[in-house]
Structures are given as structure tokens and as C-alpha cells.
Subunit: 308 residues, 2 copies
Amino acid sequence: MSFLYKADPVRGAEWARLFATKAPGISFHIWPDIGQADRVRYLAAWVPPPDIARQFPKLELFFSTGAGIDQFDLAALPPELPVVRMAEPGVVAGMVEYATMAVLALHRDLPAYIRQQREGLWAAHRVYPASKRRVSVLGLGVLGCAVLGQLRTIGFQLAGWSRTRRQLDGVACYAGQEELPAMLAATDILVCLLPLTDSTRGFLDAKLFSMLPQGAGLVHVGRGPHLVERDFLDALASGQIGDAVLDVTDPEPLPPTHAFWRHPRIEITPHIASMTQPLSAAEALLENLRRFEAGEPMVGRVDRDKGY
Amino acid sequence: MSFLYKADPVRGAEWARLFATKAPGISFHIWPDIGQADRVRYLAAWVPPPDIARQFPKLELFFSTGAGIDQFDLAALPPELPVVRMAEPGVVAGMVEYATMAVLALHRDLPAYIRQQREGLWAAHRVYPASKRRVSVLGLGVLGCAVLGQLRTIGFQLAGWSRTRRQLDGVACYAGQEELPAMLAATDILVCLLPLTDSTRGFLDAKLFSMLPQGAGLVHVGRGPHLVERDFLDALASGQIGDAVLDVTDPEPLPPTHAFWRHPRIEITPHIASMTQPLSAAEALLENLRRFEAGEPMVGRVDRDKGY
């Protein structure tokens, strides 16, 4: 029985050491060393190799090494193969830190102060209490819920939107396309934490922006293709969007000449909001393996119909 | 019996309305309209007028409208006059928000990403978990304690330093000059929230910087004169200080040509970390008035010996 790892090799070496201690019965291979193909029972990859059903006939489980699975074509995997996303505490903690930082930065006018610094301009903007600032999160998965939990400790007015209805303490929850306009109309800072699927591609478009109050802030920590570039630049130009913090773009890396880099009201970070921590990721994966063997539900199991 | 207010008149008008409702027995005057000088029992000011003992013979209480009292000469006030700082929930909440934002920004390399954006450079820096990041706070008053409480929810390794020993859950507490080096040696991000007194002026100097690990971050939300400008620029130049977020400078406003504005590793905001909210400030003051009349201890009462 073997475990095949196909992603960053430095991280792979860290995982191999942890497996040797915690799961000595499993032989651990780092791509391109696949060992005996017909002994591969588990595969963890950022992007799976092609034709895995034929290549690894005994494959029982596929793990994405990322929190999302939009980096590969889910439909190309055998339909009965369980697919598990990486939902480890490091990913969640990183996203909570980043989203909290970005929301606070927009709440406290940091982008304006960064601009003023270039001009040597000392001028204060009015401070609003967090209790008067309406922060809404699109996407109420593990990450969205954790971000809302942290923002709640700061005292913001919180709302959240998901496809199917959720209930969260201290958060006004909205569900489905028909309730989206009501939430957006009452949003000062919008955080996008949607999964990327066919129905969320281009979600952040002119129509959505037009439903926000004039000058709303945007924190985009979903996936680059959620955002319609032309509509976004227009919304910034008209002042419909005030300031924006983007951690994801399309494409990534963003080319050096791209207009986003030089836009005075866009702050960009290079997809670093949430990065798996090698050790906690491997531990989360081993825990899922244990659950799988025991017939228990795995954390982060992908619903093949929903696509996330 | 009257209350004399001498600070921002817009805010004064908001206070006047609140007093009319909540303390209709007190006649409220906004400087320079002092009413009958010998009826002034309470004075609230950012900077008190000169010679207040002679000018207001019935004065019983002096309120600073700021969280600190270093903007005026405490020794010039009559020695027996009780002096009360503004310790209202709005000031505390604002500082917690700002310090949390600044610490997260240093923790997650935001200054480096801001620099990279100017060059169109997409390059990720390693993310460390908050549990491996050592954040230390100088000054454990109401603000320092509240900031540590919020940082704790994010999972940082926390330490705090004060003149006299404090005990705080989840915070390694250090006290007195002799314990300062041990804390500094174990600090990745240092937050200055000291009061400004004769013994803390110039506290952030070359000697202190040299006790930090190379590349430590600084969040300065105390007072401008805590920081020795020349030593600070040297520490940045040598890499002893990595990045710094300054909300206070000396002088304020910082002149447009000052070197801090253009330094690539300094982020400046114009003393906006913590601003009193007119209504919660007036409510906190009225509560202190009630305590004073009832002979109860007031919140924020200044110890004239310590100077804060």
C-alpha cells in the first residue's frame, strides 16, 4: 500500500518525514517516483496526473493539496473516486488573519493613508465605530465562517451569503440569488470567499457592484476568475467601489504590466492569504485517512454535484 | 454650577446636546464663552487655559479630552485639582482595531507587498503561523491590555512590559527596567503604548533597538517623542528594524519634507489610531461626574506623582 505525493517537493519531504513517524505502514512516494503503480492507494496532488484510473488501478482516494479544487478538471477524475479538499487549521488561520487585516485596513482607511504618504500629506479621516460598519461575506464554508467568527470579536455588523441557508450566531444570513440584492445594499465592505464553480465564475460583475452602496470596499480572497476585470475597473473609476484589496487575480502571477498593479485604489498581494502549513496539512490528511479507514466522514470531502 | 468645554467646537456642540438631555442641571459652555467664571465647577479641555486657579476659583475637576495628558504641562495645574484622562470605550476600541491591523500587517508582510506592487512584482513570502510570532506590548494600561486581549484571539505569542508588575492571562508579563532586555530579545513585533512622561521620553532609542532580534517590526502608537528619530533611521538602515508602522510623530503634523514620509520601510498614519467618539466620550465623562459627586473612584484619574 502506498501514498503518492505530486506537488511542491520541499513540502513533500516534510510530509515524508511525518508519515514515517505517524504512518509507518504506508510507503510514501514523491512524484515522479511513483513506486509500483498498482500499489498506489492514495494520491495527493495540486494537479492530478492524466488518466489516473488507468495508471493507478487500486486508487481509493484523491486529496487536493490546496483548499480549492479549481486548479484541475474535476470531471476528468473517475466519478466514483472520493475527492478531498485540504481543510487544515493552517489554511483557516491564514485566511482569518488576512481577511481580518484587509477588512480592518479598509475600515480604517489605510489605502487612503498609503496614498497620502506618497504626497507627504498629514490629514485624518473620520473614524467610524466598528458597530456602524457593515461587513458581508460571500461564501459561508469553513473559511467564511471562521472569518466571520474573528470579525465578530471586533464588533462589526456582519452578514453572510450562501447558496443554501446557513445559521450563524451574530451574522445576518442570506441565501440564494433572490436574497443577494438585500445583503449587498447593506454592505460597506464585501469579502468574497466563494468557491470557483461554473455558477460563480464572473460573480463579481457590474450588476453586483451596482447593488452595493456607492464607495463600498472589496476584499477578494476567492479566486481570480470570480472578478470581471473590465466591470471592476469601471466600478473603481466611477467610485462605485472605493478601495479594493485583491489576493487573487486572473491570471496568476499577474503580468508586470497589468493595470491592477498601478491602480491607486487597488492593493495586491500574490495569493498568500491562506497557505497550507506543511505539518498541520499532513496531520489533517492523516486524520482524514484514519476516518476513511474507519468509515467515518472526511473533513473537506468534495460534493461532486456541487463541484466543491 | 457650570461645565466649561475647551476643545474642538463641533464636538463641543455634540456634547452640549447630550448634557442638555442627561445633565440638565449643569449649564454647559463652549470656550471662549465661559459664562460666569466663578460658577465654573468642571473644565474639559485638550489644553487648559493658563492660570486656571485664579480664573476659575470654584474649579473642582479637570478632564483631559484626550486619552493622554502630555499635550499640556501637568505641573502648571493646581496640585490638589483632580485630573482625569479620557478613558472611554471608543478610544479603546479604536486602538484595538488599529494595533490589530498594524500587527497583522507586519505579521503578513504587507509593507513588502506594497513595495512589490510598485514594481509589479508577484512574489510570495513565507507565512509563519501566529503561534510562532512573538508580539510584545510596551505599556500595560487600559489600551495595552485591550490590545493584548484582541491579539490573543488571533493566537500570537504574547508578552507585555510595564513599570510595575501586572498579571494577564495568556501574556508573559515583564516588569521594570531590569526585565526589559529579556522581553525584547524574544520579540518579533514590538508595540509601543507607553504614556509619555519624563522617564519614557526617548524610550525607543538605539539601545532598545539593539536588544531586539535583527529585523523586528515596530508599531508605534504611543507618542512621537518616545522615538529617537536618528536612532530609528539608523536601525532601519542597518536592518535592525525591519518594517515600522507609525501613527505618532514628533512634530505633528509631520512636515511634508520629513524623511519618514519617503522611507520605504515606514508606513505613516496621521495620529488616527484612537480617536474619541463624541457621544461615548461624553457619556464616559458624565459617568465620571456621577462617580465624583458620589465619592466613588473615577475611571482614568491621573496619578500626579507618576504623571499619567
